[in-house]
Symmetry: C2
Subunit: 335 residues, 2 copies
């Protein structure tokens, strides 16, 4: 049974461990600075399928099956899959779950999905309603561009504040265990909107949500940012990251240990991604490769993973609405 | 801490009660057989707003605020809102949550959303991660028709198997308490797809998911369908309801106590809704009016609420995909 602290945070009382994890990415992500950290990549942007949507389903399927296989789990060893993605009606996740002998919970948290699915998986195990649960998400550059912006064939010029949707998927299996990185605490974010309308500047829209959730976590747990080895946001990119640090400094919080999954995944000098990576698959694939590996091998000991999501739709933006955002935070400790 | 039974079900060990609930509907729903059971209705399909999407946000907002007000709760008395809807990127829920001082979890379960948000709210309270949580959803005939089928101005003829998306919203506040209807058990569904492709016959696509979840619940809890006063599905309509009963009878389950929220909400003779009502707002508004009232006033004592969702998108259907479906089930007992 969890221990609720403050308004938005709970500590785990069980030893909820990262039993297994896997990442799958596309060609561009493999060519980036974390290229050799990912489990699988494909040079084919269709991943052998006929459509970009089916490619995304294929990536999620590969991530799930690999996470199971790594620890010799079968489907029946997991009680529930929590998954979501950016596609309308979350079809990437729904079709991945189809026919599997596992309960399925669909979520929508935009690019915060990896932290959201981890939060709910943790909650279900803390409630003793599941022995093991799986947190999954994905995004695909081509399916996202078509849906949120323009078909690629149109050749729209992207402004410098825009981010590049990561083609990638991540899957984490949580369950009770001793010898693995553990989920120590979870903070569920509030929906924040400071009035940004520009769909090509998501970092600016999401930074206030990241600041709000990090402040809520520190306040609820009565800890300092320097108590943690590293704070990973995802995916603010360079524009959003600068804004986040400005916002935190107003409250006297000056993290020297901040990095952003959208900045980490690409080489901005060489890869023409403008402000950095984005998409549910961005923080998911970085968490399920470098971050969790470093928690396993002792390079990291106590981190905050704070994934951010912009909660608009193309319809709401066309109707003149501003962009509400959210960030959920997980405190993970090394073994 | 919950007690997990079987593969998909858990019993609550806390007294998790329905502390408050509220429903908001449109004109057609108010003219139906349950008209006088809903808390609020509007003759204006825009609910005073400029767009159908904003009308949906208005309905969710009214349902939340009314559920709080009925029991003199303030926003700070609730720790988390779980909400979802049918709109792309779930903007009905995201914009409703904007600026509220409450953690927010977005879900996507199509028309199963009321049962899904109740399941997760229950789980969070069982985990002691929240004292009170709120489950919310909505749908709107006009925003749904435009998004999933055709703009209304096109005047497409609807086949007899099609259902009419309910304009409605429901909100439930759960928390520990004694004198109210209680959540006794929860079964989270699997994603089932028996190959139906017709977006105008959702009942047929969803019936196998309802049958699967009801069978899982009975098997996990080792109970019989006759142990319950009533089984409410939502929203199979008449076509899906007949198929559900056929599927259950194959396993020797013959419920004499079944009703469907999509059948209950409209008068099919007079209201030209073909196979019945549908949409997240259908089972939500029926639960948050007649069903929970009858559990409060003693007419019902022990029921199953099994909300069903069809998990396709217009894109997946255009790409030739079949329709995966899901159903989540809540066992609620009277006070």
């Amino acid at each position: 049974m969890a221990k609720k602290v403050g308004r938005q945070t709970f500590y785990c009382e069980k030893d909820i461990s990262v039993l297994s994890f896997a990442s799958v990415v596309g060609k561009k992500e493999h060519e980036g600075p974390l290229g050799d950290k990912f489990d699988v990549y494909s040079d084919d942007e269709f991943f052998g399928e006929e459509t970009f949507e089916k490619a995304e389903i294929r990536m999620q399927t590969m991530a799930i099956d690999l996470a199971l296989k790594k620890e010799s789990f079968e489907e029946k060893d997991v009680d529930c899959i929590f998954a979501g993605d950016l596609l309308n009606q979350c079809v990437g996740s729904n079709y991945t779950a189809r026919g599997r002998d596992v309960s399925f919970v669909g979520v929508y948290g935009a690019c915060s999905t990896m932290a959201l699915t981890l939060s709910l998986s943790t909650m279900m195990i803390e409630a003793s309603a599941a022995k093991r649960a799986m947190a999954v998400t994905s995004s695909h550059f081509c399916s996202s561009e078509r849906q949120f912006r323009f078909p690629l064939e149109y050749g729209g010029v992207r402004p410098q504040t825009s981010q590049w949707t990561v083609t990638g998927a991540g899957a984490v299996i949580l369950g009770e265990g001793e010898e693995k990185p553990k989920i120590k605490a979870v903070t569920l974010g509030r929906t924040i909107d400071l009035g940004v309308k520009d769909m090509n500047n998501m970092g600016a829209a999401m930074a206030p949500a990241a600041a709000d959730t990090i402040k809520a976590f520190l306040s609820d747990t009565k800890t300092k940012i320097s108590d943690y080895d590293a704070v990973f946001t995802g995916d603010l990119g360079v524009v959003g990251s600068e804004l986040l640090l400005e916002l935190l400094q107003k409250d006297g919080i000056a993290p020297s240990n901040h990095n952003d999954c959208g900045v980490m995944i690409f080489d901005r000098e060489k890869q023409d991604v403008h402000a950095g990576g984005s998409g549910c698959g961005c923080s998911a694939s970085v968490l399920c490769s470098k971050i969790l590996s470093d928690l396993e091998n002792g390079k990291l000991k106590n981190i905050l993973f704070c994934a951010t999501g912009a909660l608009m739709s193309p319809t709401s933006s066309l109707q003149g609405e501003t962009i509400p955002s959210i960030a959920h935070l997980i405190n993970i400790v090394g073994k």
